[in-house]
Amino acid sequence: MAQIIVTLALYLVLVIPMGTYLYHIAAGEKTFADPVFNRVDNAIYKVCRITREGMNWKQYTLHLLMTNAVMVGVGYLVLRLQSVLLANPNQIEGMEPTLSFNTIISFMTNTNLQHYSGESGLSYLSQMLVIIFMMFTSAATGYAACMAFCRGLAGKRKDVGNFYEDVVRIVTRVLVPISIIGGLLLIWQGVPETFQANQTIETIEGKLQDLAMGPVAALEIIKHLGTNGGGFFGANSTTPFENPTIITNLIELYSMMILPGACVIVFGKMTRKRKKEEGRQKRCIFGNQGRTIFAAMSILFLVGLTLCFFSESAGNPVMEAAGVSQSMGSMEGKEVRFGVAQSALFTTTTTSFTTGTVNNMHDTLTPLGGMVPLLHMMLNCVFGGKGVGLMNMIMYVILAVFLCGLMIGRTPEYLGKKIEGKEMKLVALVLIIHPLLILGFSALAVATSGGLAGITNEGFHGLTQVLYEFASSAANNGSGFEGLADNTYFWNITTGLAMFFGRYVAIVAQLAIAGSLLAKKRVNETVGTLRTDNTIFVIILVAVVYIFAALTFFPALALGPIAEHLTLWMS
């Protein structure tokens, strides 16, 4: 317990300077590193002929989608043709079409759902040119969209920014430098970074074992920093080569938490009131609006973490009855070097921040412990990955504002802009698409033989596996509950579609909301206006998120983890 508290306290210390730095980058303000990066960026702009003109939301979205489409095309070819391309010391075959489709969508959408095993399914070229490359670009895409969204809501300029400029600045000034530093730290702790082929060694038992290797550290750091989550190896961050020590565990934890949290700070700083800026610039850490959202996300996170931690600590009564001591909590599927506390923290974090990396087997979590990651992916707004979580949270904010605004006798407004039919339509689209993908595909899976074939556990746990797989896809999380035999046509195609629609429908709708609000006339703020920066609103926001999620997902959860929990503890 104490180590969780210390870990989180340290996070708060780290996230604030990061948020400020990210704000300076997004707003184009001066930073200490400008002398170096300005030259790098200008060179890139020149070579790529990027004009850096402001775009409206439609142009921004179009450029975002087209860029992503080109990357998907190139990446798909590399995966299919990897057997004949360079850097393939382990003689990996080309990837099968539906699996390639699934993989390329998975990495472009920042999901990193893996239906392959890295060590046997990808060449080193594919790892670098497809996987690692997309880990940078998909994260940058998400952050760029988030920055454009924040600009639209802040309404301080006429456009939402330039997509290419945003992507370049985020990659050169945030992702690459931090990856280099973090990667070196990981190498220092023993994570391999090599182009050598796999090694076969003789173990102390006298048997032979293949040791999978490769450029792991490079992937490992961006995997977390970009909230990607796709492991170099199939077992992800549970393996000692990806996550050898408690220090690497912390590095990975912090690097996946830092940018989503920083995004909220950027939002807060961007939407600060104009008046203050005219006068003497007061120092602010979060900005009023950002503080509300950060607080609401933190509450959701802590509630989930507490549930997960205590559920895991309570252990498994069936194991207890079988004579396995549960005094350390439920250790099934967990690494001894991390224990229950770091595992619960990592599990909650990876699904809240939609990274999808795992340091323990989620399939073997206790029912309620496993429900927490599932629920947080269903909410998809507890910090969330690469800025998308912030945008999703704003959808709930708009919903809360709509109800609360009416209850004080005014037509609803947020950040000085009226919320009307058009915005509600787009918010509704985002709110509908998520349960539609998760519940719809899950129902399809349990009703068809193609889907049922993948379920390896009978009963309630099987349903949880299915729900988890689609929640992970739709939320662009990518963590696997595992235990699902998922490299089949059915699963490759359905999860591929869930990832695709989960990502792009939401982003387009959200940018449209930003564009629509940007175009609106700012309305006056008086004491009669609904305040969205106080404690009451935080509480209301948390309640709205829980009630909406509960109303949407409760029946499914009742038949999955809740039923499993009840049968486990009450029989």
Partner: protein, 685 residues
């Protein structure tokens, strides 16, 4: 000033009858589809009905016939309740419209041809631009502009005000409304509206709700409700498959019951009733809103531009104080002032007597008989009385009285000019009182702020509304009144253009502006304002430009109208929150009931201890139905509204309708369960 809304019983026998009929008529699916939430319920009813006739249609067991029948019946009642709510709201408007329609009898009109010949035709044949002549006792056939003549017109049919008003060609009193009667003299009127388009016609259709269009906020809320309905359809349909996977066979009727319980039927059923009732509350107030949008905009008003005269002050200068000159007692001054005014019927004169009485004058009404009244004339600029003994008591403008006193050989007190100029600078009117050659002092007449306004402006400030006073007075006078009334700002020496400039300035800052006005020159400003309340006594142009018309021509009403607008939005938001919050309890009733058969441990979620799965589902469904009529009174009257800070109001309403919305159904469903269990046991469920 606090005007009480005309309290009528919110439902009468007639309305009840017509609403019941209306509730059935609205079952027509073509009508229901306009309200998607309730349409889903109706479709659910149709399916349940089908399953009552053929229980095995979708593979359910045939023993469920009775259960399906009960579900179908409750769904049917749910739809009826929602339709009933809407009908009641419409019924109240219709009753109002009936009264108006009575005035719209088939009138005859005397058409005046170009060559001067007269021709009697039906009013409905009149076209825009025709000229008619209306004589004493005749009804004005349609809206128009007086082009010749002057007459008294009885407008009680529209305003309810029995005193006739004067209408004449030119100026601000040239517009006449169809349906009003000329009571003396004659008018030549140019018709300004096509038949069926007159003010009265529009009022009737507005009040009836026939031309009701959804407001922007209603549309946005409608979208929210539809998307919730879609989400819950996804939830219920997919749950059918999940349950199948888990080995639970759930009857179709139960799935329908779950869906209907979850979708926001409470607000879905009451939404249009709330909107109609909001308009109706405004109408009961004798204000006709041209659209629901206007009422809604009222809730958002940030700034109110108010005319000083008529709105903030009475417009007449009334006695406020008596200021004796040096050497004269105040009592004497009061007595003589009252004496001069006893027979004076002007508001100023009456106010002097009134103030004198309050201050304890010794002069009674009987004194009137012993004196001779000297009326005010433009030449003398004074009025007064000659007492029985011939003493001349006069009051009047300072110069006139001074001249008069000098002529009588009297002295002018040294401090007189000081008092007079002090009163003038304060914006008041000094009336000097003298008896023969002796000046006693000055009556301080001033524009009086209507009582209670200060407190109301205070309340408005609390909810964030700024008030700006417009007046033609000089800045000093304006400042005095502004301070007294407690408005936030004022525009002195205000011309009509200034009002527009001010409105535009406020709007540029993103504020929603409300204003009242009556004259033609107010029309552009009324059109520019987001909420424009025109006085019925005003010109047609002003009424056309405004989005609300006050039939009583009382500009202070804008304050109430704003509160009604807020109340409308609060009612909508509160009931939506209540409706959504209700779902929590319904889940706790239905989910365990659905699954305890296959997962006995689910019983632990049955925290209300509902007796059987059937009773649990039916209780939730019955609660869902009866809550609609239970909330009709709130929908009609609106949620109680008291101006307070936004945070306080939010906490209060969230407490009542949010938390209340979670708790009430737990109690309600449990109670219904206790009642229905024995009945269900009798029929074997």
């Amino acid at each position: 000033m606090a005007r009480q809304e005309k309290r009528t019983k919110f439902i009468t026998q007639d309305i009840l009858k017509s609403s019941l009929i209306g509730a059935f008529q609205k079952l027509d699916p073509r009508y229901m589809v306009k309200n998607p939430v309730m349409f889903v319920v109706e479709v659910g009813f149709a399916v349940a009905l089908l399953l009552t006739i053929a229980p095995t249609l979708f593979g359910d067991e045939s023993s469920l016939r009775i259960y399906n029948g009960i579900v179908a019946f409750i769904l049917f009642v749910t739809v009826l309740f929602a339709n009933f709510a809407e009908s009641v709201a419409e019924g109240r408007g219709k009753a109002q419209a009936e009264t108006l329609k009575k005035t719209k009898k088939d009138t005859m009109a005397t058409l005046l041809a170009k060559d001067g010949t007269e021709k009697v035709i039906h009013a409905s044949e009149l076209k825009k631009g025709d000229v008619v002549i209306v004589r004493t006792g005749e009804m004005i056939p349609n809206d128009g502009e007086v082009i010749e003549g002057i007459a008294s017109v009885d407008e009680s049919a529209i305003t309810g005000e029995s005193a006739p008003v004067t209408r004449e060609a030119g100026g601000d009193f040239s517009s006449v409304t169809g349906g009003t009667t000329v009571v003396s003299d004659w008018l030549k009127v140019r018709i300004t509206s096509e038949p069926g388009q007159s003010f009265l016609d529009r009022m009737i259709s507005l009040v009836e709700g026939a031309s009701r269009q959804k407001t922007p906020n209603e549309i946005a809320l409608g979208i929210l409700l539809i998307s919730l309905t879609i989400i819950f359809m996804i939830v219920v349909v997919t749950l059918y498959f999940f349950a199948g996977y888990s080995g639970a066979k759930i009857p179709i009727a139960t799935m329908i019951a779950l869906l209907v319980c979850l979708i926001p039927t409470t607000i879905g059923g009451l939404l249009s009733a709330i909107g109609i009732a909001g308009m109706d509350r405004v109408t009961r107030f004798n204000v006709i809103a041209m659209s629901g949008k206007a009422v809604e905009a009222c809730g958002d008003v940030d700034t109110m531009i108010l005319d000083k005269t008529g709105t903030i002050t009475y417009g007449n200068r009334l006695a406020a104080d008596f200021r004796p000159v040096e050497g004269k007692s105040k009592e004497d001054l009061i007595d003589y002032s009252v004496m001069t005014s006893l027979c004076d019927t002007t508001p100023e004169g009456k106010s002097v007597v009134e103030l004198g009485r309050t201050l304890g004058t010794r002069i009674g009404d009987g004194a009137k008989d012993q004196m001779e009244f000297v009326e005010f004339t433009a030449q003398t600029k004074m009025s007064g009385v000659n007492l029985a003994d011939g003493t001349q008591v006069r009051k009047g403008a300072s110069e006139a009285i001074q001249e008069y006193v000098r002529a009588k050989g009297g002295q002018i007190p040294k401090d007189l000019n000081g008092i007079v100029s002090e009163i003038s600078t304060l914006g008041g009117t000094p009336l000097v009182v003298c008896v023969e050659g002796k000046i006693y002092g000055v009556i301080y007449l001033k524009d009086t702020v209507k009582p209670g306004l200060r407190e109301r402006f205070e309340r408005l400030r609390e909810i964030g509304i700024k008030t700006i006073m417009c007046t033609g007075d000089n800045p000093l006078t304006a400042a005095t009144i502004a301070k007294e009334a407690g408005v936030d700002g004022f525009i002195a020496e205000c011309k009509p253009e200034d009002k527009i400039t001010e409105i535009q300035k406020e709007q540029a800052e993103g504020k929603i502006v409300a204003m009242t006005g009556d004259g033609t020159n107010d029309a552009p400003a009324l059109a520019q304002a987001d909420v424009g309340l025109a006085m019925n006594s005003g010109t047609t142009a002003a009424k056309e430009a405004a989005n609300m018309v006050d039939l009583d021509s009382d500009p202070t009403k804008i304050l109430e109208v704003v509160e009604i607008g807020k109340q409308l939005l609060i009612t909508r938001g509160s009931l939506t929150t209540f409706s959504i919050a209700n779902d929590v309890a319904k889940y706790f009733a239905i989910i365990p009931a659905m699954f305890t058969m296959v997962i006995p441990q689910m019983e632990i979620l049955n925290i209300m201890h509902l007796s059987t799965p059937f009773s649990a589902i039916l209780s939730a469904l019955i609660f869902n139905a009866v809550i609609i009529p239970c909330l009709i009174p709130i929908a009609m009257r609106g949620v109680k509204y008291k101006p307070m800070r936004s945070e306080k109001m939010l906490i209060k309403n969230i407490g009542i309708y949010g938390l209340g919305g979670i708790i009430v159904p737990f109690i309600g469903i449990k109670l219904i369960d206790l009642i229905v269990t024995p009945f269900l046991a009798m029929i074997g469920l």
